[in-house]
Structure formats: structure tokens, C-alpha cells
Amino acid sequence: MSAVIAVSRWVLPFLALIILGKCLLPLLLGHPKEKTYGYLIDNIDGERYALNMWETSIGRSKGCDIMIGYPTVSRFQAVISRRVDGWYVFDLNSRSGITVNDTEVEKKARIQPGDTLTFGGAKFRFAVVNDPVIRVGKKKKSAAAPVSPQPVFSEFESDAPQNALPSNAKGTPKNANAPLFYDAAHRPQLHFERTGAKPDLLSERKNRAAQPITPAFTGQSQIETAPRSAVQGRHVFSRPTLTNPTTKETFMLTGNYISVGRSRGCDLVLSSPSVSRRHALLVLYEDGWAVQDSDSTYGTFLNGQRVTKPQLLFDGDTVQFGDEVLRFRAGKVGRV
């Protein structure tokens, strides 16, 4: 026995060091690295600011995680934070304040992916790529795979498991229904009432949606919903377009407004005799492109309904000028 004890005195330190080394290795090698949970995308130049932490501070100061150099931004403007029940933005008593989709934030506000945040006049779109929270609330008995609570934007590389993408619970293939673009369903709430000069497009649109729509254009309704590259999850930066479904001619919407008509002076020239020389205007409002008729002879139609006031365009809408039918694609970031 004493021999064993004598040997053990030499063995013990080595055992201790192996134990501690084994505990150290996972810390040095296998520990979870910082991940990009989401992005803030500058609306002006498309610059992406990665949200690498659960709490990210935003401001003009160098001490902030995301530094915004605008003079209107306070030194410590805001904190974007993932709490267990969702993403939040907190106002740090900033002078210029924060708005979420044009609604002013009092102290904190819950934000959804796709929301537009304004920090002292600088507009950013908020996107989530890897939601770090697996499940919220009580345990569900169903054997369904863990579903993240909010739509995950798949326009960026996502290393979240594929089943974490939102599935529309109706037995449809999982990725096919993931919201790849802003469409009407995922579009943030619009607030026009703050800018009194602007027409109330949204309520008009809602009224129209309540009426049964008879699509003027039914033959090509099976158009693919998204470019292939977007389905693969690669980052594509596409502009809003108008496409002729039969000829596949595509017209890109750039600038602030586009005139449509038969005349050579129009930005978008449609040579059909049913199109007036100056038929309609496409105008870029703060919340996206809208179409308005310019007293055309044969009228402008949005999804089969005659346009009398300016109407906002949503992804997949059908716009008809005379008998020329075009399909609107909203693009990725809206306008750049």
C-alpha cells in the first residue's frame, strides 16, 4: 500500500494537469465564436452593418459597436438587443430620436425583420440571418422542428439549419414559402398620416383589396416568384423592375419618377396604339413605387382595377397601361 501511495504522489500532479488541460481545450478551440445574427442595411448606399452580439450599441461615438458618422446621430443613440421574446430597439435618450417604420420610439420598441429604423435621419433596414434563440415560450408537444419566431431573411448566407427557416405550416415545402422579398404580406406597416402632403395610399389599397379582384391578366399567373439566385440564399441586389410576361422584356425602375407612354420622350416607351402619348407616371414615394394615371384615354389598371389616385405597387402586382400588361417586381432593398 505504501508503494502505491509513493507512486501516486508523482502521478497526482500529472492527472491534475491533464484534467485541467482537458477542460481548457474546449474553451480555446471549440467555444462558440461570434456570429452575425443580423444586419442593419443603410438605405442610401446599401452598406451592411453586422449585428454580432446580442446587444449592439449604435451611435456616433467610437465606443459604439456600430458607428454612424452623421452629425444628427447622437453619440450614444440606440441599442438593438435580442431578448428572449424578440428583437428590441432601445432609445438611449438621444436628441434626434428613433423611428421604427416612421413611428417614433418612446423608450423601446419591438422590431421585426424588414422594419425600417431611422437614427437621426439615417435610414436602415433591419434584417435577421441567424436568430440565436431557438424557441420562445412554452414547450410545444408537437414533433415539429424548432421554428424561429420571426421570418429569417435568406437573402444572406445563413448557417442556421434549414429547418429553422419559417415554414408556412400548411404542408408546403419549407424553403419555397420563405419570404424572400417584401411582398404585401411581409411589408411593414406604412404610415402616411405623418406626412400630410402625401396621399393616403394604404387605406386606398386596403379598400381595393376588400373588393374581389378580377385579374386582367390570368394566362401567366404561374410566373416564378423569385429569381433562382435568391432561392439559393446568395446575396443579390436587385432593383425594382417592370416585366412583360410574354416577351420577358424587363425595364428597371431607377431615379425618382418614370413617365410611361407612347411618346419618344417618355422614360418607358410602350408602342401599342392603346397607350396614350403620356399615359401614366411611376413615382417613388418614401414607401416604394406608386403608379398614377395621367389622364390617359384607355386608362391604367392595377390588378384589373382602374387607377384613379396614386396607388402603391407591391411585388407581383400587374400593371396595365391600355392593353399593355406588365408585372411589377419589388426588388431586394426596394430602392437604392
Binding site: S8, L12, P26, L27, P132, V133
Partner: protein
């Protein structure tokens, strides 16, 4: 070329992603069995079967705990628990060599500590829950500390020159209320911050901290007061990230210390022996001098458990336990203990960056620094590198309050690790 390198790093990362539970447990078991042997078969007496059963029960409990937690809670990160098991096991070994009663008390303390650890870990899972109790907890803990001071000051009386012990049940066991306030101190310090970069509740926290430190001063528990103050400075730095205000706070504290020494010279007398222990070998420097002498005589591999001389010095199993281990288990094991505490710091730093909230990050770093400060005060105190303040060595010193508090502080560190809540967070 670069690609193969990347693949190798990925492979390594995959391989060492989680601590190898079975292997480390096996090593721990062998280690603790080898520690157990000389305790059980000491001298020419019959084997101490009771101690052997208790220590074997501890080893079995480690397996059971890791197995149950892994099987039912699906947790995979046991690094902290292994470090705590390692340190507690060494403490239990020393306790077993003193007496069976000490061992039993210490083992109950370990069990209570693990229960507190798991309850706190569950509680910290939801930050909203934490935010709801922070103010009641602050008021309650400050009240308990003040009441216990009044109780000890006027009813019980001082033990070892300080008013920090409450003795319950005719000396059956004693409680140090300050140890439990440590938990509340970290809790309130981290939780009173709503989000990054806000100073909304900082004044309330300063009041709370100053209240705690003031009562500790009145208790004459200067070691714990120093731990609280250092932790307060660290929490203040973590919350603000501002070096200047930290310097300001420290300068104010230094000035306060000078004033205290000026008006109450007896406080300074307690530390008069610092750096002069060899001039007071048999009086005030007795413990430090004996620790230094006997730790040297242990050498690299030690004299063997129960063979040392330091254990006959007062407070050998509480304040001087590091010296006892150096003498009886050798310098290498003592070095391993220091490495374990360094690992705690590494763990806190690694986890804090990816912690799910600033509360977790701050509480983990504050808890780790509290443990480290306490370790430094203890080890440097008994070796006369710092004034001897009589603080315990976490996990190793005999004493229930200290053991439970150490485990509770580990809960804060572990809560910051996203892997601790596999049902909630994606690691």
C-alpha cells in the same frame, strides 16, 4: 494549402467542441481515489471506513450528477463543474484527514452548494425574472446584512476579532452572512443595468454597494469589504467602459482609506505586520511564517496527506488551506489549484463575448473576478505578499457559507455560456 489548414482547424474545433465528459470523469475518479488512499490507510490504525464511504459517495455523486444533467437537460459544457469537483475534492480530502465529522460537514456543504448552483442556474435562464427581483433582493440583502451585524454586535459578540459569524445550535454550525450577500452583490450589480450604456440605476447600485461595504467595515471584516470594493470597481467598469471614472472611484477610495487610518489608527495596526512577519515570528506573524516554512518543506510532491505540520496551526483548514496543500500534496498540486482559478477567468472571458445579454456578461465577469480577488487575497495573504485579511479560498477552505457562495458564483459564470441553455439558445 490554406484550405487543408482550415479543415484541420475545423476538425480540431469539432473534436474539442465539448469537454470529453467520460474521460475527464474517469481521470477525476482516479485522481480522487489516489488522494483517498493515504487518508483511509493512514498510520497503523484500522482503515477509516467511514471516510472512505463518504469520499466514494462523493465520487459516485459526480458520475450521477454529470449523467443526469447530460441525459435530461442535454447539457454538454461541464468544464466549470469539473473544475469545481476537482477543487472541492481536494478540500474534502484535507477535511477527511482532519476528522470524519469535518468531512461530513464539508460534504453536506458541497451538496448544498450544487443545489444552489443548479437552482440559480435555472433562475438565471430568464432575464425578465432576474429583473423582477433585483430591487427586492437588494433591499433584503442589505437589510439582512445590517440586521445580522446588529445581532452579532450586541448579542453574540466578536469571533476572531470580527463580527461576521452567526453561530447556530450551540456551535453545531456557523453562518457568515457576508458570504451570501456576495451573491446578491453580483446579482444586483449586473441586473440593475437595463441595457448597454445607461446610467439610470447606477446611483441606486452605488448606494447599495456603499451600504454593503460600510456594514462590512463595521463588522471589521476588512478582507470581504476589500473583495466587495474591488468587485464594485470591476462592475462599474464593465457597465460604463470608462477608465477615468474608475480611476476617480479608486482615488476616492484610497483617500477614504487614508482618512480611516488617520482617525482610527487601530485599523492600521491590524496590517502593521505586513512585510514584517519575520520580525514577529511567534506573535502576529505566526501564521504567515509557518505557512512559508512548511510550504517549502513540502517540496514538489509533498509529504503526504496527514504528514504535515502546518495543520496544527490555527485556522489551518480555512485560511491556510493553500499552505496545507502545498506542504502535504506538494507544489505541483498547489500550482494546479492556481491554474484552475486561472481557467475560471479564461472561461468567463470566452463566454462573456457571446453571452445572450449584458446582464450575463457582466455577472459572469464580476463573479469570476470576485473569485479571483478572493483567491489572490487568500494565497498572497498567507504568503505575506499582501496583508493577511482572513478570507477563505473558494471551494477549498472548510466552511459551508464559503462553499455554497463559491458554487453560486459559478452559476453566474455558467449562465453566460450560451451552451448552458441548449433548449433556448443556438450555440
Amino acid at each position: 494549402m490554406k484550405q487543408t489548414k482550415m479543415r484541420r482547424a475545423d476538425r480540431l474545433r469539432k473534436k474539442y467542441r465539448y469537454v470529453d465528459r467520460g474521460f475527464v470523469l474517469l481521470l477525476l475518479t482516479v485522481f480522487q481515489l489516489l488522494c483517498l488512499l493515504p487518508v483511509v490507510f493512514s498510520g497503523d490504525d484500522a482503515p477509516h471506513t467511514k471516510s472512505a464511504v463518504l469520499l466514494l459517495g462523493y465520487i459516485a455523486f459526480e458520475w450521477l450528477y454529470v449523467g443526469v444533467v447530460h441525459a435530461f437537460l442535454k447539457k454538454t459544457n461541464f468544464e466549470l463543474e469539473f473544475i469545481a469537483f476537482f477543487l472541492s475534492g481536494l478540500g474534502l480530502t484535507v477535511a477527511a484527514s482532519v476528522s470524519e465529522r469535518t468531512l461530513l460537514k464539508q460534504e453536506v456543504a458541497v451538496l448544498l452548494g450544487i443545489i444552489v448552483f443548479d437552482v440559480l442556474l435555472w433562475f438565471l435562464k430568464d432575464v425578465r425574472r432576474v429583473m423582477a427581483v433585483r430591487f427586492p433582493l437588494a433591499v433584503a440583502s442589505l437589510g439582512v446584512l445590517a440586521l445580522s451585524f446588529v445581532y452579532i454586535r450586541f448579542v453574540v459578540g466578536a469571533i476572531n476579532g470580527a463580527y461576521n459569524w452567526i453561530v447556530v445550535g450551540n456551535g453545531l454550525f456557523s453562518i457568515q452572512p457576508a458570504e451570501f450577500v456576495k451573491i446578491a452583490f453580483i446579482f444586483v450589480g449586473a441586473a440593475s443595468l437595463d441595457k448597454l450604456l445607461t446610467s439610470k440605476n447606477i446611483y441606486l447600485y452605488i448606494l447599495f454597494a456603499m451600504g454593503c461595504i460600510g456594514v462590512l467595515f463595521l463588522m471589521k471584516d476588512f478582507g470581504t469589504a476589500l473583495i466587495f470594493f474591488a468587485t464594485f470597481v470591476i462592475i462599474a467598469f464593465l457597465r460604463s467602459g470608462d477608465v477615468r471614472s474608475i480611476l476617480f472611484v479608486s482615488a476616492a477610495a484610497a483617500l477614504g482609506a487614508v482618512l480611516i487610518v488617520y482617525f482610527k489608527p487601530y485599523v492600521a495596526n491590524r496590517f502593521a505586520v505586513y512585510r514584517h512577519v519575520w520580525e514577529h515570528v511567534d506573535t502576529t506573524g505566526y501564521q504567515q511564517v509557518r505557512t512559508l516554512i512548511y510550504a517549502v518543506s513540502g517540496g514538489l510532491q509533498g509529504l503526504g496527506i496527514g504528514q504535515g505540520r502546518l495543520r496544527y496551526v490555527a485556522a489551518s483548514t480555512t485560511d491556510l488551506i493553500f499552505g496545507v496543500i502545498s506542504e502535504e500534496l506538494g507544489l505541483l498540486i498547489a500550482f494546479a489549484i492556481v491554474v484552475s482559478f486561472a481557467l475560471i477567468a479564461v472561461y468567463a472571458i470566452r463566454t462573456a463575448r457571446s453571452a445572450p445579454s449584458s446582464f450575463y456578461a457582466i455577472s459572469a465577469c464580476a463573479a469570476a473576478s470576485m473569485l479571483l480577488i478572493q483567491t489572490a487575497l487568500n494565497i498572497f495573504g498567507i504568503t505575506d505578499l499582501l496583508p493577511l485579511t482572513g478570507v477563505t479560498l473558494p471551494f477549498l477552505s472548510q466552511g459551508g457559507s464559503s462553499m455554497i457562495c463559491s458554487w453560486a458564483l459559478f452559476a453566474f459564470i455558467k449562465a453566460a455560456d450560451v451552451r448552458s441553455y441548449p433548449e433556448l439558445f443556438r450555440a
